[in-house]
Every structure is written in C-alpha cells, then in structure tokens.
Subunit: 421 residues, 2 copies
C-alpha cells in the first residue's frame, strides 16, 4: 500500500458482548496510544456485533473510509467468531488452510495435557495474501493483510493476547507508516484547582501544531499530558517536551508531584525511604483508605508502620489518647482533635510522623456549622504539628479520595521543605 | 417513522477527545441499558472526531444503516461543536433560530450572575422539523427528529446532562418503539469459583430466546445477570426472572450474597445492624482496604468501631497483644497469628466481632512455604474463633480485594448461620 500524507485509521471491535451494558472496549485506548506514538491519529472507532450482515457491512464501510483498519476480536473457535470469514467475504478472497498453524494450536493444547477440540481447526485458515501473526498467549492467530489499497490488521480480543501480538508482530511493520517521532509526558498535580492552573499556564499552551497539552481534572488531582511530535527525530520530540515541561514546572513548582506517572503514595513512599523516616496514620472519615493507598506500594512495610481507623469518639480517646474533654469541647471534627490524633498515633506507633484525618464524608452527618465535606488533616513530627482545613465537594468516595490526597500531600511538602532547608 | 420488526439502533459519540488514549465513551453503556429495557438491541456504536468531513460521513453512514441514531456530544458553544450543523448538512435541512431557547440559555447564565457569551447563540438553532429537548443541567439543548425514515436523537456529552435529558424527554417518546417488556436482575456470588458455578447451574441456562443469562467473573466475585423479555407484559417478564432466580438460588444457596445490586460490605452492614452487633478489624496485608470498604457504606459508624492496620510484627504484638513468641514460632502469616489478631482487636475495641487478615500481597515477600497470595482470615466472637486459609492469585490489588472479600464473607455466613439456628 502507498503511504499517504493523511492516513485514516479505524479501530473496529467485534463482539455482541461489547453492545451490552456490561462490557466496554478498552483495547482501542492502547492501540490509539501506539498509533499516536507514530504521529498518526485514529479517525474512527466502531463497535459491531457478531451478526453476519452487520459485520460485513461495517467491514465494507471501514475499508471504504480508512487506510488502516484494525479489527479486534471474533477470531476464536466458536460459531460466533466470524471476523476472519466476514473479511474474506468482503474482499472476495479465499481462506487457505495452513497445516503449520494447526500444529501450533494443537501443541498448545498438548502442552497443557489437553487434546485440541475440533472447532479450533478453523483458526488455522488464513486469508489469501495475508500474513498470520503468532499468538503466544492464546490459540487465535492474528492477521496482517495489505490489499494494495488498505492495510487490514486482525487482533484477538483478550488484552493479554492483543498487546504482546501488537507489540511483537504489528509494531515493527507499522514503522513504515511513521509520520513523526513522538514523546509523551504526564505531570500530576495536587494542591491547585483546575482554574488556578489554567491561569498560571494559559500563555504556555503551545501554538505550534507539533506539541499538545491535554488537561485531565479529577477532584484532588490534575494531570497535564504533553505530547510532542517531530518529523525529524525522536530527540527533537523529546527536546520539545522537555522545554515545555520545564516551563510548566517553573509555574506550577512543587505542586507537581510526579512527572513519570507515579501516584502520590509512591512519591511519599520514596521520600520517606530517602529520609529514613517512618509513618503511622489515624483515620476517621477515610475509614482505612489512606492506609490502603499507602500499602498499595510494594515494600511499603519498610516505612509505613500502622494505621488506626478510629470511627467512634470513644475509640479516638480510648485508642489514641485524645482527651474526651477536647472532643466534647471542639467536636470530633475539629482542628484540635485532628492535631491530637496525629500526635497520638505518632506516639503510639513510635513513628517519625503521625498523619491524621477527621471529617464528614456524608451523605448524612452534616450540620450548617460542620457541613458534609469538612475535613481536617493534621501532621505531627518530632517537634511540631500542622493542621489544615478543607471543604471538599463530591460524593462519599470523592471526599475520601480528596482527604487522603490532602494528607499525603502534607507529608510530601513537609519532607520537600525539610530537604531544602 | 414506521415501526419495523427489526429496528437497528446506532449510538454515535462525537468528539476528538474520545479518539485519544485518555477518554472513553461511557454514555453508551447507559443508553444501551435503556434500549434493552424496551426489548431493543444496539447494533452499532461509532466514535468519530470533530473533523467536519469525518462527522458528515459517519452521520450519513449511520442514517443509511440504522433506524434510530443517537448522537452524543458536539452540541456545545465552541467552534469544534458541530454535530447539529453536520446533521443539518447531511439531511439538507435548515437550522432555524429559536428566540425562546436563547432566552432560556441567557437566563441560565444570569441566574449565576454571568452574562451569556456570544458564542452560545448557536445553541439556539434547531434543525427544521426537529423538536428541541430541554437541558436542565447545562446550556446545550438536545434534539428529537423524525425524518420519516429514521429517528435521530442528539444528546449532550456530559453524563450528568445526558441522563436526565434522556430520561425526561427521550424515554417517553421511545415507548412507541417498545418491542418487549424487560426485567433485569443481578445475583452476586462469592465463595464459589466460576467453573463450580457453571457446573451447578449449567442445565439452568435458558433455552428460550426471551430470557438470557450473562456471567461476569472477577477474582472473589461472580455476577449473574438475568434479563427476561415479554412481548405481552411487564408482569410476565418479571415472572420469568423470578422463576429462574429461584432455581439459581436453589442451586447456589447462601453463596449468593445479593440480589438487588448491593455490595458485600452493605450486606454485612445490614446484618450487623439487624443483629445489633458491632465489628472491629485488624488488617495486615489489606492495609486498610477492609476498613475502607466497610466505611464506604453511609451510616457504617453505627456498627463499625475501628480497624487497626498492623503492618509490622512489632505493632501486631504491641498493639493487639499478639504474643511475640507466637509470631516467632509460627510466623506473622499463620492461622495462629490470624486468630490471635481477631481475638486481640475484638478485646481492644470491645466489639461483638473481631475480623483479622494476615497474608502476603506481593509482588515480593513470598517464599516456597509461604507464597505470594497466601492469606489467613480469622473471625472472633464472644465464644469462639474461626480461621480460613486461602491461596489467592493475581496482582497486589487483586489479592487485597479477595482477602477483604473473604473476611467480609466469613462474618456474613456466621451471622446467617446464627439467624438460622
């Protein structure tokens, strides 16, 4: 196939289950990322059922409008799997039986002590002129076919089969369609609102078409995705990203907590390890979510000693030594109690730092003075404490996330400041 | 439009961001569910960019192959939002300015103390012959258009705008296309493997086309989705579901923990409340995830007193009174230590039940004798204890989920058995 200036790419996922309310195609996100790495954009995504007429129609329309068509799924051994046959029918090409493919499939079963069911035989047929793609993780071979006017790529549906097949057998052959070299980077930010970030960086939005900024905002975390392209070299693309990244960092400073995709709990873990410090937590409204995030990091037992989820007032005083007079006077959701909790858990766990969260996650339990979303986070260290008040918005889950995010960010900033001083 | 026996439905999401690796269309899952409720299947889903030619092409092809086309997105005020204009172009129909729509949009801004930007004026144009659909949550009105041969529905992209508009303005008008009455039900199961469930229920798979079973399996939880249709009445559809549901329950018994979509932590909460019992937890490898799940249920402070995340051996003995000799002799991941942790937290928290988890979540820390995935869960009550050993598979996150699931299921089964005896 001739390489055009403006290549149209279509990703077509085949399978009736993808047209139910239960399943979603996620393979196309991965494939889009890889095409973007070649400087190519995806123009259309289609999802079609196993129905023969629908499948034939969609393949025909895809071939008419796109230069590269990637079909996903429908390569299995069952009667519903007919992507191969439908493509052959549209292209009016024969399916040719390949003995060596059948042998590979049979061996796959034999290695697991099974004999190959007869239905799998159909997976050994290849469209005339096409190149079968080996599947190291399953029975369904893929296909690469250059019709002269289009490239058609067929891949199996399960992501753990699709990804290695794409990377090892499709990626090298796609290089000749490479339009540009691409470099991507993601900055993760916390402690600033989306609109504040927009104000700070608005003049940095690239005017050149070869570099692009995308902002994804979640409550408690903003991500800035940078993608740069260069028609000349990978180095040039990387250079463009680095310049923009540096400018963004100059504006956003220590609000950027990660530049390599790391989560906030990983960054905090790295800093604690670096400073050889330990941490313990006392959680009220997060109910264990802070500990859960901290322990999502492998090896976190090196610095994370314990978390105490104190849901009732009694446990707060009984377990953490927070005086019941203090709770009565200020309420469980107060800066005083948050600070006492942080100091209490630090002492109890004999850790370098104590981190505490107390608040109202909702949907009930709010009052005019202490509404849902009011959260105090406190940090205690060897010779000081700090407490922060927040009014988070969103549902229970979102308030829990923002609360944990804030607490993690407090210790991150504390350790950063310490390293500087 | 005439109602056909075999209506083809296409959902088309418009927006270049949906063709990046970062965003996915989720609206179509909701719309599919609602069409299924009418006994209608979705035949195609398309995602297309804001590019004018691509958009026009995809609309043209959708109108050619489908009877009902639902377009999502591209109704905003910016230059990129051109779904309305592209549809008008394909249909060769005029866009007519509607003063009353503009007034509504302007009032929306004024209520928030803002003046309407000039760009929003384009949202007040309606395709000739179409019916504008009011947007109570945003500025972009939707559209219902009967061309004589197709129904075209345009909806705004943000889910919180799309859903109420669909429910209030589209759903009533779709009733005339209702093919069948539908009833859906989901059974959630834990404590059985997928293959065990298949063996138990294989002969219950409905042979009739009007009722359908779909199984979704996750490690630690299996869901059986039942959908029944009746051309006659809602009652008949519900009756079909109830019969199948009863048969499934007879086979799967108390392994089914929920039949109305409830999560396991909600079921446990309901049972604890019913029996007026309280719970405290001691978590090692789950790191707070059990407490997090328990406290995801609003009002959980009524029965959930506290969770102690004891990550180090020292905290296990220091905080929970687990003897260090016991830990030395059997190791922290052992049935003896799990039991001692459950009894320890129960005593410490003065709760009716103590639940404990100790295990190896990986990816490191495993040995040949105690591999990654080995998890002990223990339950302690006023006059007894129970401990269970599991070898879970999957990554760290999956092992944490299965561990919490097992612990929650232990207390659920205990309370169920108690209610029976």
């Amino acid at each position: 196939m001739k390489i055009k200036r403006d290549m149209k790419i279509e990703i077509m996922a085949v399978g009736s289950e993808l047209l139910t309310p239960y399943f979603q195609d996620t393979n196309s996100l991965y494939l889009t990322e890889r095409f973007n790495d070649l400087g190519l954009e995806v123009s259309y995504k289609t999802i079609v059922s196993d129905d023969w007429d629908d499948l034939v129609l969609c393949i025909r329309q895809a071939l008419a409008r796109a230069d590269i068509v990637v079909g996903i799924g429908g390569l299995g051994p069952t009667r519903d799997d007919r992507t191969r046959e439908a493509l052959a029918s549209v292209l009016k090409r024969k399916l040719i039986f390949k003995k060596e493919i059948l042998q590979k499939i049979r061996k796959r079963f034999e290695r697991r002590g099974l004999s190959m069911p007869a239905v799998n035989k159909k997976q050994a047929y290849v469209i005339k002129g096409g190149k079968p793609l080996e599947n190291r993780k399953g029975t369904a071979p893929g296909l690469w076919l250059d019709t002269g006017s289009e490239i058609v790529i067929l891949l199996p549906g399960p992501p753990h089969e699709l990804k290695p097949m794409f990377d090892s057998s499709v990626w090298p052959d796609l290089q000749r369609f490479r339009k540009k070299h691409a470099c991507r980077r993601v900055l993760k930010i916390t402690g600033l609102t989306e609109s504040k970030i927009e104000t700070l960086i608005s003049d940095l939005y690239p005017q050149e078409p070869h570099i692009r900024l995308t902002t994804l905002a979640y409550p408690g975390q903003i991500e800035i995705h940078i993608t740069a392209h260069s028609e000349e070299s990978q180095d040039k693309a990387e250079k463009s990203v680095e310049i923009l990244e540096k400018n963004l960092l100059d504006r956003l400073k220590e609000n950027v907590f990660s530049m390599r995709g790391e989560e906030l709990e990983e960054v905090v873990g790295r800093l604690l390890r670096l400073h050889q410090k330990t941490l313990a937590a006392a959680e009220s409204c997060t109910g264990g979510f802070l500990g859960h995030r901290l322990t999502n990091v492998p090896g976190s037992s090196d610095y994370f000693l314990q978390s105490m989820v104190v849901y009732s007032n009694e446990t707060k005083s009984y377990q953490l030594g927070v005086s019941s007079t203090l709770i009565e006077k200020h309420g469980a959701v107060s800066p005083q109690v948050a600070t006492a909790m942080a100091a209490g858990i630090r002492q109890k766990a004999r850790s370098s730092f104590g981190l505490a969260i107390t608040g109202i996650a909702g949907p009930t339990g709010g009052t005019p003075e202490k509404p849902v979303g009011l959260v105090y986070s406190a940090l205690a260290w060897d010779n000081g404490t700090e407490v922060v008040k927040n009014n988070f918005i969103g549902n229970r889950e979102m308030i829990k996330f923002q609360s944990a995010q804030k607490a993690l960010d407090m210790i991150r900033r504390h350790l950063l400041a310490k390293a500087k001083s």
